[in-house]
Symmetry: C2
Subunit: 211 residues, 2 copies
């Protein structure tokens, strides 16, 4: 059995209990012969996957009560794994959601680190310099690369901290481990989305859902 979280850039897989990340560009549905339970936020892939008998879309089995309109299934899965805390999925975008007593309180969406780098590049060639991930955050920058890096990291950190209110902050996604290092109460958990897929498949196999 294979579990798949298909995003806009990467696919997170759990294959016989082993975790892997694959680039979406390299992902080929025809390479899988057994049962594949998946969620997918990539609209252009949906139709292809629906045509494959061995691919089972879990989205309709995952229930999530929230006042938020239009939340993606990947964010739902991450949130369902956290009863109390902040959930940060740091990929192409950085989604930040607050869970309290098992209830979703709302959330917000920051650009991902690569999206910031591209945004600066699009403003001016002079700002096409990337992010210095080692920049000091306790001193005002004295050059352009640090000025850009400080702005990105400081603004991300302060905004996430502002809604955390001392709660644990659970990070996942490609830049999750790096960003979690800036928070005393930061926990990196690459499995946070897949955990909900595991639970859903277990319930499905127990016959909890009637198809």
């Amino acid at each position: 059995m294979i579990l798949c979280d298909i995003g806009n850039t990467n696919v997170h897989l759990l294959k016989e209990g082993e975790f892997a990340i694959e680039s979406l560009k390299r992902f080929s549905a025809s390479a899988f012969s057994g049962e594949v339970y998946y969620i997918c936020v990539n609209n252009s892939l949906h139709a292809t996957l629906k045509r494959r008998e061995n691919f089972i879309d879990l989205e309709s089995f995952i229930k999530f009560d929230t006042p938020y309109k239009g939340i993606g299934i990947d964010r739902i899965c991450a949130c369902k794994s956290v009863y109390e805390g902040v959930v940060v999925d740091a990929g192409s975008a950085i989604t930040v959601d607050v869970m309290s007593g098992g209830k979703h309180q709302g959330g917000f969406i920051l650009p991902g680190l690569k999206a910031y780098e591209k945004a600066y590049k699009d403003i001016s060639m002079r700002l096409d310099i990337g992010i210095n991930r080692e920049v000091l955050l306790n001193a005002l920058p004295k050059n352009t690369k640090d000025a850009v890096s400080f702005a990105v990291l400081k603004s991300l950190i302060l905004t996430i901290q502002n809604v955390s209110d001392g709660k644990n902050i659970y990070f996942t996604g490609g830049d999750g481990e790096y960003l979690s290092g800036f928070f005393k109460n930061g926990i990196f958990d690459k499995m946070i989305v897949l955990k909900t897929l595991i639970n859903t498949v277990e319930e499905l196999k127990k016959g909890k859902f009637k198809c």
Copy 2:
């Protein structure tokens, strides 16, 4: 006499004491017959302006002592107008500089509001929704447009606030007036760059500089 601050998107002008903003696309050096004192951060325009006898580049007359490497002449001019406080120029990028006792302490560069909007659009079509400038910042967002708007504004505000340390925050640039409204200690001053140009021309006319 005309004073000009030529940016990457707009030109800020002072013509016979009257302030005006013109789109860079509409700006034509040949339309000016009298003396034009200017600064320019747009590299592609520099050569054209240097060839015009009535255009006088003020950059070399404006002295600014700072440990920061590679600061633009527009940022220098804005900073020179502030003895104590934070200087925010909110245009295509949002530059934030700290002045203390007339000395530049360093600064950082956030993307401008339009650059954020484009960054979200580039991440996913679903995020191509613009910024809701009226979004509530005291409640967690419950839909995608507010999630994006909250993230942008909250992150800008917190980062600027973080370095202000109770000092006045002087805003200029196209989104300066709007952003200044979020700060108790925010002051909008559209003339902050041009003030330095006025002072420099006065000193020049008094013969302070030897050409």
